[in-house]
């Protein structure tokens, strides 16, 4: 369970003006809940993700994961149990290492035995099996370098890397935004399959209104540094893109 209490973050701009990005955000994500996050540019979505994963630290407020305070835990420690897939396909993988090597790095995230062999036969078999689940022919590319894969394949590898040891929380940062519509569909379908299979708690940022409605159990809309709207269950099922569009326009006027 992720519990965020009164989270505040402001950045000092070059000209000395302080810009408050998060203004006391509260959010609770139950175990196994898949939440889509909408919001206009500058609403604080990415800042929220950066705070949860620890790349930056908040000015005020606390973040609990499974009742443990992780507000100030170093990034590499919390990435043991928080997986994150980025928008750019190249960001979540080491491009000049092979698929298998990348998987081995991800596999070791919770309990890295530094002086054991990184790649063994049983491990490779496991990786092949996991890659085959995606149905993109990746199981035959175990020894190809990541930079030789397509963008969609890259994102699938990144996604498998984040979930090969099921994390307590999965952060999807517009992870299909850089893909063509067809591939984006495939990657999204695979995403929701993995989330359902391992009962993962997940947060997914998207600008795609249809996706935000179609995927997940709950939809959160951020505005001006707080959660402005929160739809779950039947309420979410009945949402239309028109309604969401109105919410965006409402803010502008």
């Amino acid at each position: 369970m992720l519990e965020i209490k009164d989270l505040q973050k402001s950045f000092q701009k070059d000209n000395g003006i302080e810009s408050r990005v998060l203004k006391g955000l509260n959010l609770i994500i139950a175990d196994g809940e898949f939440v889509t996050v909408l919001g206009n540019n500058g609403a604080g979505k990415s800042t929220l993700f950066n705070l949860i994963s620890g790349t930056i630290l908040p000015n005020e407020g606390t973040i609990y994961l499974d009742h443990e305070d992780i507000t100030f835990m170093p990034e590499h420690k919390r990435s043991k149990f928080i997986g994150r897939v980025f928008q750019s396909p190249m960001k979540g993988t080491a491009p000049h290492l092979t698929v298998a090597e990348n998987m081995a790095l991800a596999y070791g995230r919770q309990n890295r035995k530094n002086f054991n062999w990184a790649l063994t036969r049983p491990l490779k078999a496991l990786f092949r099996e996991k890659l085959a689940e995606a149905g993109m022919g990746l199981e035959d590319k175990l020894d190809s370098k990541i930079c030789d894969l397509s963008g969609g394949q890259c994102q699938v590898v990144a996604l498998i890397m984040c979930t090969i040891k099921p994390p307590k929380l999965l952060l999807l940062d517009e992870h299909t935004a850089a893909l063509d519509p067809r591939t984006a569909e495939d990657v999204l379908a695979f995403t929701s399959k993995i989330i359902a299979k391992d009962h993962l708690s997940a947060l997914m940022i998207t600008h795609h209104l249809e996706d935000a409605i179609a995927f997940g159990d709950r939809l959160v809309m951020m505005d001006d540094g707080v959660v402005a709207h929160d739809f779950a269950g039947a309420e979410k099922a009945e949402l239309t893109t028109e309604q969401l569009r109105t919410l965006y326009h409402l803010r502008e006027s």
């Binding site: 994963s53 590499h76 420690k77 990435s79 993988t93 080491a94 890295r112 002086f115 990184a118 790649l119």
Partner: protein, 299 residues
């Protein structure tokens, strides 16, 4: 013939510094300038050990000396957040004093008449001293390659490679970037220290100025090797360091033996070789652009 044998033997020893530089520059992607300091540090430590009658201890201590230099640079870089280039320069500068201290305040120390690792093994092996020297150097290079290839196949080694490739990914995959960068720099400089120690044994003296230009020499070997061996696995990379190092020595030997250049022109030649090798991508870029522009003119 003696030219080739001489280049082969020197090339094999200098391949250690090439491998060290390969690890920092190519694998870790950190421009580490500690090399010139750690090279002399290893040399000084070895000289003191050998004159004290401990040639074998000298090998371990020169490794350790290099490792220590690498550790200092790594701490300056990761913990104090000083840019890598400056961290290396700081360590290198500081080491100048340390090296003088190690050698008891004198700027050079002769090893003539004392038993080095080469004399030790050369006396046992049933070959002429020149061949024995090549064999010993070859053994060192082979052991180092075997250990490094194995090391880079462990989780620890893989993490070092990943950090050189994509630091952000490393952080989000729960790797302590600082730890692995430090380990990588320690391994790199340990090799460079050992190289310094072996060079002292080979040339028969340790000199404070020996480290000058070592970085460029190592880099030259790495670049030349890359031109010959295209595969980019760790094993191929290390082998290309050895090959590059030998070819580099050969080029220098030929250049000097033609008597077109005096022996002291070596450093300038190395710098020119490296500059040319490093500018090949730029040359290709200009050439391609030029051809594209020409096509437009004709149309």
């Amino acid at each position: 013939m003696s030219l080739v044998i001489g280049s082969l033997q020197l090339g094999l020893i200098y391949s250690l510094i090439a491998m060290g530089i390969y690890i920092s520059f190519k694998v870790l992607n950190i421009p580490d300038l500690t090399a010139e300091g750690s090279f002399t540090f290893g040399m000084a430590v070895m000289a003191v050990c050998v004159t004290g009658g401990h040639p074998l201890v000298g090998i371990f201590l020169s490794l350790l000396a290099g490792a220590l230099a690498g550790l200092v640079t790594a701490l300056l870089h990761t913990k104090l957040r000083i840019p890598a280039i400056l961290s290396g320069i700081l360590t290198m500068t500081g080491l100048y004093t340390i090296n003088l201290m190690v050698m008891g305040g004198s700027s050079n120390l002769t090893l003539i008449g004392v038993t080095t690792i080469y004399d030790l093994a050369g006396g046992v092996l049933p070959f002429t001293f020149t061949i024995a020297k090549i064999l010993i150097s070859l053994v060192f290079a082979a052991i180092v390659i075997a250990v490094l290839v194995a090391f880079f196949k462990t989780n620890c080694g893989l993490c070092i490679r990943a950090i050189g490739d994509n630091e952000e990914m490393a952080r989000s995959s729960s790797m302590s970037v600082d730890l692995y960068k430090t380990l990588g720099l320690i391994v790199s400089n340990a090799l460079i220290g050992l190289c310094g120690g072996l060079i002292a044994c080979d040339q028969g003296y340790a000199d404070m100025t020996s480290g000058a230009g070592m970085l460029v020499i190592g880099l030259a070997a790495v670049i030349i090797g890359e031109a010959f061996i295209r595969r980019r696995t760790i094993l191929a990379g290390l082998l290309s360091c050895v090959l590059g190092s030998i070819i580099y020595r050969l080029i220098l030997a030929v250049a000097v033996s033609t008597r077109m250049f005096p022996a002291y022109a070596m450093k300038l030649l190395s710098a020119i070789i490296v500059a040319i090798a490093l500018s090949i991508p730029a040359y290709k870029y200009y050439k391609e652009n030029y051809q594209l522009k020409k096509r437009k003119k004709h149309a």
